[in-house]
């Protein structure tokens, strides 16, 4: 088959896999948390049941909801699907990758976030604007940190395209790279902040004092809420996949390598499961920190990322 057809097919396959399996990832994290807290959890498929329930309901909208409010969920979902498409998961020859490089990826996440904040403020409730404000505070600090985290792999690979970066990193010899270690720690901190996990934000709370992300989606129902929840799950999976691709990329199939694909897929699933477990452990052992400490937390992430980059520039390692 012609090359671009294979790449297109594999691209579609990847997008489908990530998007469809994202709720399983969320369910897996919740399941691990339940086990750690010594209770039997809701099961891996619970997010699917939630989504199907929501899709079957009727949407209830406020009287003064504008078109923005109705389209924001679709935009968010679309952005997340795009993000999921360009992160190399099993192989590094993705057809959609010219759509966005590493830096534009940050922009894609920002786009989704902007729309969700605008939609939250659209109705005019107190919770909505409060959530939007807090979300933007976290974002304004985590975005520079995320960019800095990307700079280290970017400098190593001398390219901003995710395909090239992951291909270069996957084929380096195994060695201790302190710069990547620092960047990895910073990335984990940013992941926690961006995906509204403990210790930055509790995804299950509805207390006014502690809500950040939840406050923005209070007004949504039915299919809109379903899309937003799905987009959240896809974002988490994409972030984990990004971390895996940048910092533990071994097992990824090279471009055009058919036979490596099943192994790569298996490796990916295993790594994702481990990542989910680690996330659950992190969430269980930490307590949510007060909101005014979040800037310090993210400042630390920024610092570590910059340090990693500087160390790479100085030591070449």
């Amino acid at each position: 088959m012609p090359d671009f057809v294979t790449s297109l097919l594999s691209q579609l396959a990847q997008t489908l896999i990530v998007v469809v399996l994202a709720p399983v990832m969320l369910g897996w994290v919740n399941q691990c948390r339940s086990w750690l807290q010594n209770r039997s959890g809701p099961g891996l498929m619970q997010p699917y049941r939630l989504l199907s329930k929501l899709f079957h309901k009727d949407a209830v909208l406020a009287k003064n909801a504008s078109a923005l409010f109705r389209t924001a969920p679709y935009i968010q979902f679309g952005c997340m699907v795009l993000a999921a498409s360009i992160v190399p998961v099993t192989q590094t020859n993705l057809a959609f990758s010219p759509a966005a490089d590493v830096i534009a990826l940050v922009g894609v996440f920002a786009l989704a976030r902007v729309f969700s904040a605008l939609a939250a403020m659209d109705i005019g409730t107190a919770f909505g604007s409060m959530g939007a404000r807090r979300e933007m505070l976290i974002a304004s600090l985590s975005e520079p940190a995320l960019l800095m985290v990307f700079f280290t792999p970017l400098l190593i690979a001398q390219s901003t395209s995710l395909n090239t970066i992951v291909a270069t990193l996957a084929h380096r010899e195994f060695a201790l790279y302190p710069s990547l270690a620092f960047a990895a720690v910073a990335f984990i901190m940013v992941l926690l902040a961006e995906n509204a996990r403990i210790p930055v934000d509790n995804p299950a709370t509805h207390l006014e004092l502690t809500m950040i992300h939840e406050a923005m989606v209070l007004e949504y129902s039915a299919r809109h809420l379903a899309l937003i929840e799905w987009a959240t799950a896809v974002k988490l999976t994409t972030y984990c996949a990004l971390g895996i691709a940048l910092f533990v990329p071994w097992g990824v199939a090279s471009a055009g390598d058919w036979r490596g694909l099943p192994f790569a897929l298996g490796a990916f699933v295993v790594k994702l499961a481990l990542a989910g477990g680690a996330l659950a452990v992190l969430e269980t052992v930490s307590a949510k920190m007060r909101i005014f400490r979040a800037p310090e937390f993210l400042g630390m992430a920024f610092l570590l990322a910059v340090l990693g980059m500087l160390i790479f520039l100085l030591l070449g390692a």
């Binding site: 302190p178 620092f182 310090e296 500087l310 160390i311 030591l315």
Partner: protein
Amino acid sequence: MALSAQLINLMAALLLLIAFAMLAQRRILSLIYLFAWQGVVLTANSIVVAYSTGQTHMYYSALLTFALKVIVLPWILHRLIRKLDVRWDVETLINIPTTMLIGIALVIFAFNLALPISQLAGTITRSTLGIAIAIVLLSFLMMITRRKAVPQVIGFLAMENGLFFAATSTTYGMPMIVELGVALDVLIGMLILGIFFFQVREAFDSLDLRHMEKLKETDR
């Protein structure tokens, strides 16, 4: 890269991280532990350099560093803070995120400063000179932004650590007699400081350095 070079790079990165952690740390006990860890990493670094380059005097240097900076000095400091009953140094001159940003700027400056000298050095550790100078500058920043006497002294000791690391990275350490002399100086300095802290506490009833800003250029 050879394993020894990787290890040296890793330890240099750890030292830099510890220096930043000292900047952000508020509990004085944690500062002492961080200082002890810095000593451990320095010792490990000396041993790796000694093993990979065959410079046997580095083994003695590593032993001296371990004895002084991991055991004796932290022990003296620990006893001091227990007797003086200081635990926290909550107020700093500038808040912690700003301190971190200034720290990053200092690191960049240090790397630039070290570049011409690193190119002239003939050691395997020459690229770590920038990190050594960065540690010195960060410790200096820590000394400036602290309000209590004990963290200022720990910053001073960390500066000496940075200088020692600089010596290791450019010239495989100083001649043994000089290293012994420096170690002796540091030890005596700590002992004298120990006595001195009690005098400070006696005169001012606290170890807060703001009490010690009364003598001015033109007032008296």
